[in-house]
C-alpha cells in the first residue's frame, strides 16, 4: 500500500524500524516497477460495523505477497472471517480499499472478484450436497463455454471437448486430495474432513491466483492435517498464493512465510512466525492477562 505506509495499528512488525528515507526509496522503487513490488492482495483501512458500538473490523490492513503463504491468526471474535468476507466482498465494507493484483476490487461483486482469481473456502465447509464430488469440482472451472444457455444448444462439440479436459484435471485434483475413490458419490455423503479437502480442491480447480482458506485444519484429525499441510505446501511450490486463517499454531508455524495477528477487530502485529510467537502482545491476546 503505497498511499498508506504508516498505519498506526501495525507499528510492530517490519515497518517499525523504517525511516522516512526508506519509505521514500520504496515508493520510488514501486513507481518504476509497480507490478513487481505490489503485493498480490493489499487491503488498508478496512472498517465494518455490524451495528454495535464497536466495529467488527476496525481500520485493518493486510498484505499478501505474490507466491507466499500468509497466515491470519487471532482469538475468537477477532474479525478474521469478517475480514475474509470483506476481502471477497461477500460483505460490503464501510470504509477501506482492497487492491488485488494491482486493481481496486472493493466495489466489485463477489463473483467478479472470484473470476479475477481470488477464491475462498468457508469456515464450515460448504459443499453442494446433491451434486457428485466430481460435479463439485467441475463447477469451479472458469470460463466454461457450456455455462451460457444458448451455447448448450449450439456449441455442443466445444462443450464436450472442454468437459473432457476439465474432467481430466478434476481427476488429477481428486487424486491429489485423496478423494478419487469418491468421485461419483454425492458430496453430501462426505465426512467433515473430506469436505474440507473437497473445498480446497474446488478452489484449486478454479485456477485462481490467490486462495483464501478459512480454518483448513479445524475439526480434522492430525494425520489429515499433515496431509493438508503437505498439499498446501506443494501447491505453493507450484506457484499458488495462500492466505490462511487458522487456530492451530503448528500449522501456521510450519506453513506460513508471514503472519498477521488480529485482535478485537484491529491489527495487533505482523511478522515472521518466529517473531509472532515471541511477541508479548500476541501472547497476551491469545492467553489472556
Amino acid at each position: 500500500m503505497v498511499d498508506e505506509p504508516t498505519n498506526p495499528q501495525s507499528s510492530t512488525g517490519d515497518r517499525a524500524g523504517e525511516t522516512l528515507a526508506d519509505v521514500l526509496a520504496e515508493v520510488q522503487d514501486r513507481a518504476i516497477a509497480p507490478r513487481l513490488e505490489l503485493p498480490l492482495l493489499a487491503a488498508s483501512g478496512l472498517v465494518k460495523n455490524f451495528g454495535g458500538t464497536c466495529c467488527a473490523v476496525d481500520r485493518v490492513r493486510i498484505e499478501v505477497p505474490q507466491g507466499s503463504i500468509t497466515g491470519l491468526v487471532g482469538p475468537n471474535g477477532a474479525g478474521k472471517t469478517t475480514l475474509f468476507n470483506l476481502l471477497s466482498n461477500a460483505i460490503r465494507s464501510d470504509q477501506g480499499r482492497v487492491l488485488f493484483d494491482g486493481e481496486p476490487i472493493h466495489h466489485l461483486q463477489p463473483h467478479i472478484i472470484a473470476r479475477m482469481g481470488m477464491v475462498r473456502t468457508f469456515q464450515v465447509a460448504r459443499v453442494l450436497s446433491r451434486l457428485s464430488v466430481l460435479d463439485n469440482l467441475l463447477l469451479a472451472a472458469q470460463k466454461q463455454t457450456g455455462e451460457k444457455f444458448w451455447n448448450t444448444w449450439f456449441q455442443q462439440k466445444q462443450i464436450a471437448q472442454e468437459e473432457k479436459t476439465q474432467r481430466q484435471k478434476a481427476f488429477e485434483i481428486l487424486e491429489s486430495i485423496g478423494l478419487a475413490h469418491m468421485t461419483n458419490e454425492y458430496a453430501g455423503a462426505l465426512s467433515g474432513g473430506q469436505r474440507k479437502l473437497l473445498e480446497m480442491g474446488r478452489a484449486l480447480m478454479a485456477e485462481p491466483k490467490l486462495i483464501l482458506l478459512d480454518e483448513p485444519a479445524a475439526g480434522v484429525n492430525p494425520t489429515l492435517i499433515n496431509q493438508i499441510c503437505d498439499r498446501i505446501q506443494g501447491w505453493n511450490q507450484d506457484g499458488m498464493t495462500f492466505l490462511i486463517i487458522e487456530h492451530n499454531m503448528d500449522v501456521i508455524m510450519s506453513l506460513c512465510d508471514r503472519v498477521w495477528v488480529l485482535a478485537e477487530g484491529r491489527n495487533l502485529a505482523d511478522g515472521t512466525p518466529a517473531e509472532i510467537q515471541s511477541n508479548p502482545e500476541v501472547l497476551e491476546a491469545y492467553l489472556g492477562h
Binding site: 463447477l139 444457455f149 444448444w153 455442443q156
Partner: protein
C-alpha cells in the same frame, strides 16, 4: 372413448409442459415460485389477442412466451436478490394481480365475459386429405420412435451409471470398485420394470393417437402439435440441464454462496431460470386457450399453480421425466375418479349396502380427499417423488 382419451392426453400434455417450467425453476434452481399461473395467463392472453388481430399463430405464441419471460424478468429483477421466501410471496401476489388485471381491463380482455372465437392451430384443416393424414401419422410415429429409443437407452443403463457421462472417453482414470458395481446390479430389475411399464403406456398413447388422427378432428390435430412441442421442449431442456449451465443452476439450488464464491453470476442464472420457466409456461398457456377454445380470468386461479406443484412433487423434483410422469398420474387419477358414479352403481348391484350414487358436490369433495390422501401416502413412502433419488433426501447440508 378415443375422443375422451384424446382430451385427456391434451390436458396431461398441457400440464406436463406447464410443470416442466416450474420444475426448471424449483427442481433445478430452487426458486420458490408460487405464482406460476401468472406466466400461463400472460402467454394465453397474448397469443389469443394477437392472433385475433391477424398475427400468425406461431408468431403470436412466441410473443406470448417472450412476454411471459419479460414478466419473469420484472419479478426476478426486483426480488431475486432477496432471500428465496420473498420470491414466493411476490410471485403468488403477482399471479393474482395479473388475473385481476385480466378481469378488470375489459377494453383488452373483455373481462369476465372472456375471449372466444380466436384462431386455432390447424383450425382451417377440417377435412384433411389422405396425404396430410399420412404425414401427421408419420410425425406422430417419429416422436414415439425417438422417445422409445431414449427409453431403451435409459432402461439399459445401470443405476450406478447415473453419472455415466463422467466416464466417457477411455483415457479418464475412472476409479472402479468392482464389488460395489456388482452389488448394485440387482437394482436393474425395477428399472427394467419401469421401462416396460412406460413402454406399454407409450404404446397405448401412440395407438390412441393413430386412431384419432385417422378419424381426424380438431382435437387430434391439437394433440399432435402439442405433443410435438412438448417433446421438443423436453429434449432441449434435457440438453440444457445436463450441460454446465444446468450444473450452475443445481449449484445455486444447493448453496448459492458457494456458486458466487466460484465466480458464477448467481443473480443472472436465477433470472434466466425464472424467465425460461416462465416462457415455457407461456407456451403452455397458449395450448390451454386452444384446448378450451374460450378463456376468461376464472381459468387462471392460483389452484392451477398448485396443481403444477403437485405434479412436480409427485414425479420427483429436478427430474424432467418425473414431471411428465407426475402429470400423467395426476390426470389419470382425475379422469379415473370421473367414472366413480358408474363404479358405485356397479358395486351397488353386487353389494346393496353401498349407496348407488352420491351427489356431485360430495363426489367432488371426495375426489380431492382421495388425492390428498394419496399425496400423504406418497410423501410417507417415497418423499423424494416417484422418480426422485432417495439418497438426495438423506444427505446433510
Amino acid at each position: 372413448m378415443v375422443g375422451y382419451l384424446v382430451t385427456l392426453i391434451i390436458s396431461t400434455a398441457i400440464y406436463a409442459l406447464f410443470s416442466l417450467g416450474l420444475n426448471l425453476q424449483w427442481g433445478y434452481t430452487g426458486l420458490l415460485n408460487f405464482g406460476h399461473v401468472a406466466f400461463m395467463t400472460v402467454g394465453a392472453y397474448t397469443t389469443v389477442l394477437l392472433s385475433l388481430n391477424g398475427v400468425p399463430l406461431v408468431v403470436a405464441t412466441l410473443v406470448g412466451a417472450a412476454l411471459a419471460a419479460l414478466l419473469g424478468l420484472i419479478l426476478g429483477s426486483t426480488t431475486l436478490r432477496l432471500r428465496e421466501d420473498y420470491l414466493s410471496i411476490v410471485t403468488i401476489g403477482a399471479s393474482e394481480v395479473i388475473r385481476l388485471i385480466a378481469l378488470n381491463e375489459e377494453w383488452l380482455t373483455r373481462g369476465s365475459l372472456g375471449v372466444a372465437n380466436f384462431p386455432l392451430p390447424l383450425g382451417t384443416l377440417t377435412q384433411p386429405t389422405i396425404g396430410s393424414k399420412i404425414a401427421m401419422i408419420a410425425l406422430w410415429t417419429c416422436i414415439f420412435a425417438v422417445s422409445g429409443q431414449h427409453l431403451w437407452k435409459w432402461t439399459r443403463r445401470t443405476d450406478r451409471n447415473v453419472f455415466e457421462r463422467f466416464s466417457i472417453g477411455e483415457s479418464t482414470p475412472t476409479p472402479i470398485h468392482s464389488e460395489q458395481d456388482l452389488a448394485t446390479k440387482p437394482a436393474q430389475a425395477p428399472r427394467l420394470l419401469a421401462g416396460l411399464a412406460s413402454a406399454a403406456l407409450g404404446l397405448f398413447i401412440y395407438g390412441i393417437g393413430i386412431s384419432a388422427l385417422y378419424d381426424y378432428s380438431y382435437k387430434a390435430g391439437l394433440m399432435l402439435v402439442l405433443v410435438t412441442v412438448l417433446a421438443l421442449v423436453y429434449w432441449r431442456l434435457e440438453v440444457s440441464v445436463k450441460s454446465p449451465w444446468g450444473r450452475v443452476l443445481k449449484s445455486i439450488r444447493e448453496d448459492e454462496e458457494v456458486a458466487r464464491a466460484l465466480g458464477k453470476n448467481v443473480f443472472w442464472y436465477k433470472l434466466q431460470s425464472l424467465m425460461l420457466g416462465g416462457a415455457i409456461a407461456g407456451i403452455a398457456g397458449a395450448f390451454y386457450a386452444w384446448n378450451l377454445t374460450f378463456i376468461n380470468p376464472d381459468g387462471f386461479i392460483p389452484l392451477i399453480t398448485f396443481q403444477a406443484w403437485i405434479i412436480v412433487v409427485l414425479g420427483g423434483a429436478g427430474n424432467n421425466a418425473g414431471t411428465i410422469l407426475g402429470a400423467i398420474i395426476y390426470w389419470s387419477y382425475y379422469s379415473a375418479t370421473r367414472f366413480l358414479p358408474d363404479f358405485l352403481q356397479a358395486l351397488h348391484s353386487v353389494i346393496p349396502i353401498i349407496p348407488a350414487s352420491i351427489d356431485d358436490a360430495r363426489l367432488g369433495a371426495f375426489r380431492i380427499m382421495i388425492i390428498g390422501l394419496l399425496l400423504i401416502i406418497l410423501m410417507m413412502v417415497r418423499p423424494q417423488g416417484i422418480l426422485g433419488k432417495k439418497e438426495e433426501l438423506t444427505l446433510g447440508r
